[in-house]
């Protein structure tokens, strides 16, 4: 029994790390722009496909695939900002950009469906079949890779936000856009940068998720709703909170599967979401945020 509990804990951390990668992008965008990008899911999917094609068809190696996915994600993020969020910024409505991204999401998914077809692609890396076993626990090299890459990414992002000028500018804009502007920071530039980083993250998470997901044009949508839940549970715009919430959701998934039923995962996760919103809407991890919640 102890082995099982330990194993499910490891499974939870692996899955959670993947969720964190997806959710980080969302929370960054929200922090800076107070907007939700529904097309984030499709950037994840496109990142996964980009990595797939580089790895399988161009016989590149997996890491090259990840790098390409990162770039593809960044470009898409820039595009979405330039065509949707920037023009709509002046209109003032909270809802319009959200709807526009829903429309973009539908377009992207169906375009992918036409180009790539509905039959799942088998994204196998050499690492997913190498299994490490010790004292009853099993772990694939792919899983180790996921944890390492996620941890590295998060550390880099953290350092960026805390120690570089751009990172501080980002935080400034997310706290108070007007004052940041008065301080000489160009908010539009910072927002564009945020989009690029967040979407690059999404693309990269797609590349990491590719071997895990059932890879079809709809792959991103299977993780995005949970990513939203994670962003809220952790607190919109709060990076530490997102990490903790992501790992928490991953653990909830594996333990619910073990002791209850996989079908109940969504109910447990979203019940936690509603509980958070009812009791502590700014998220489980406290952050000093002045917001009219």
């Amino acid at each position: 029994m102890l082995t099982v509990i330990l194993q499910q804990g490891i499974n939870g951390v692996v899955v959670g790390s993947l969720y964190v990668l997806v959710a980080l992008g969302l929370t960054l965008i929200y922090g800076v722009l107070v907007q939700i990008n529904f097309a984030h899911a499709d950037i994840v999917t496109l990142g996964a496909f980009a990595a797939y094609f580089v790895t399988h068809l161009l016989s590149g190696n997996y890491f090259a695939g990840i790098a390409v996915a990162l770039v593809v994600g960044g470009i898409l993020g820039w595009l979405v900002n330039a065509t949707i969020f920037l023009p709509l910024r002046e209109r003032g409505s909270e809802l319009l950009p959200l709807i526009a991204t829903i429309g973009v999401s539908i377009m992207l998914q169906n375009a992918m469906l036409i180009l790539l077809g509905p039959i799942p692609y088998a994204f196998n890396t050499p690492y997913s079949s190498q299994v490490i076993r010790f004292s009853g626990i099993f772990l694939t090299v792919q899983n180790v890779l996921i944890i390492v890459v996620s941890a590295l990414t998060i550390a880099l992002l953290y350092a960026f936000m805390k120690f570089t000028f751009l990172g501080k500018a980002l935080r400034a804009v997310s706290q108070d856009r007007e004052t940041a502007g008065l301080m000489g920071i160009n908010p539009n530039y910072v927002i564009m940068l945020t989009f690029v980083i967040a979407s690059a993250l999404a693309g990269m998470s797609g590349a990491m998720l590719g071997p895990v997901l059932v890879l079809t044009p709809f792959a991103g949508t299977t993780v995005i709703v949970k990513a939203f839940a994670i962003v809220i549970i952790g607190g919109f715009g709060n990076v530490e909170g997102t990490i903790i919430a992501g790992l928490l959701v991953g653990l909830i998934e594996s333990y619910t599967t073990q002791f209850l039923d996989p079908g109940l995962i969504d109910i447990v996760v979203f019940a936690l979401l509603l509980l958070t919103l009812a009791v502590r809407p700014t998220g489980l991890v406290a952050e000093k945020r002045e917001e009219n919640v």
């Binding site: 023009p87 429309g103 539908i106 709703v225 979203f270």
Partner: protein, 336 residues
């Protein structure tokens, strides 16, 4: 309302009568079962869209959970009818009430949250509802589905033969008639002081509260009305399609209804009607182009939001405004 100087056209009653006449004529124009089916779907979508706009466009509450209330209405009425033998209209009322009550539950969150928080909370509510419908197999049959749901029972009017609702035209009259009545009711609400209250809450809650408005109570009211209307749509859906599976109430349904409201024109009542009709008919008309159908759908939604955020209503006003100005300047120009 632009009336080109003809008094009758500015009378609301005139337009309602016109609508009733159009509803009466439609099944006579479209006589094949395919298009009559589409008309009924239009009517149901009109109900959903108008209901959503009441809480979204008028009260300003970002509600993405409409699919949940739709489903609750459908399953409640169906289960009562099939398991307990409840007469259709009593089950209908129960479905509407239960959906309304669920809406009030969600409004507990609305009371404390704003903007995107509410959006995600309502989305979470929709996910939970869907998962319950899917997993509670002993109650709802889940993915196994409920089949052979009968249409509403025949309506007997003394002196006339009973109206059978297995006849698609009659079912259309029923649903569209109900939609029209709902529209008229909401229209009265919106133009009454209640409507002003909701608009005040939408524009600036803090100021509204300072005016003595009990925001909490009115938000609950808006949610209850909106979800009750969705529940009614659900009841009609079940008895019309005859087959009930949880997948019909997946969260993407919420987005579809939202798109109808936006494309039609949020914050007006006629907007959602136009949006619902367009976005129901468009995919059917586009069936001929196969794969590209949904892409066109996505493109239209995006373009509307980017370039015409007021939707079809805004477009309509622009066009009529231009015509009106031309009419006036023509008059002025021809004055001696």
């Amino acid at each position: 309302m632009l009336s080109f100087g003809i008094p009758m056209l500015s009378s609301r009653r005139f337009w309602f009568v016109m609508a009733a006449i159009v509803i009466g004529l439609l099944p006579l124009v479209f006589t094949d079962s395919y298009w009559q089916t589409n008309l009924i779907v239009c009517a149901i979508n009109v109900l959903l869209a108008v209901g959503l706009d009441f809480v979204l466009g008028y009260a300003g509450q970002l509600n993405l959970g409409q699919s949940a209330f739709y489903g609750i209405g459908a399953y409640t009425s169906t289960l009562l009818i099939m398991n307990l033998g409840t007469p259709f209209w009593i089950a209908f009322v129960c479905g509407v009430l239960l959906s309304g009550f669920a809406g009030m539950l969600l409004s507990i969150f609305a009371v404390r949250l704003r903007g995107h928080y509410l959006a995600i909370a309502s989305l979470g509510f929709a996910v939970i509802t869907y998962q319950i419908l899917l997993n509670w197999i002993s109650l709802t049959q889940g993915p196994l589905g409920i089949y052979a749901i009968a249409p509403p029972p025949p309506l007997g009017i003394p002196g006339l033969p009973a109206i059978e609702f297995s006849n698609l035209a009659n079912l259309f009259y029923l649903t569209a008639g109900f939609a029209l009545c709902t529209y008229i009711l909401l229209d009265q609400l919106v133009r009454s002081p209640i409507g002003e209250t909701l608009t005040a809450i939408r524009e600036d809650e803090v100021s509204a509260a300072s005016l003595g408005i009990n925001c909490q109570r009115w938000k609950v009211f808006a949610f209850a009305v909106s979800s009750a209307v969705a529940g009614a749509a659900g009841c009609f859906y079940a008895s019309f399609v005859g087959t009930l599976v949880p997948d019909a109430f997946f969260i993407t349904e919420s987005f579809t209804i939202l798109a109808m409201v936006i494309v039609g024109g949020m914050g007006t009542l006629i907007g959602p009607v136009l949006g619902a009709i367009l976005l129901t008919v468009l995919p059917e008309v586009l069936r001929g182009i196969g794969d590209l159908r949904l892409i066109v759908y996505g493109v239209s939604v995006t373009l509307v939001v980017l370039f015409m955020p007021g939707g079809m209503v805004q477009a309509g006003r622009l066009i009529f405004g231009r015509l009106h100005r031309r009419a006036i300047s023509a008059e002025a120009g021809s004055a001696p």
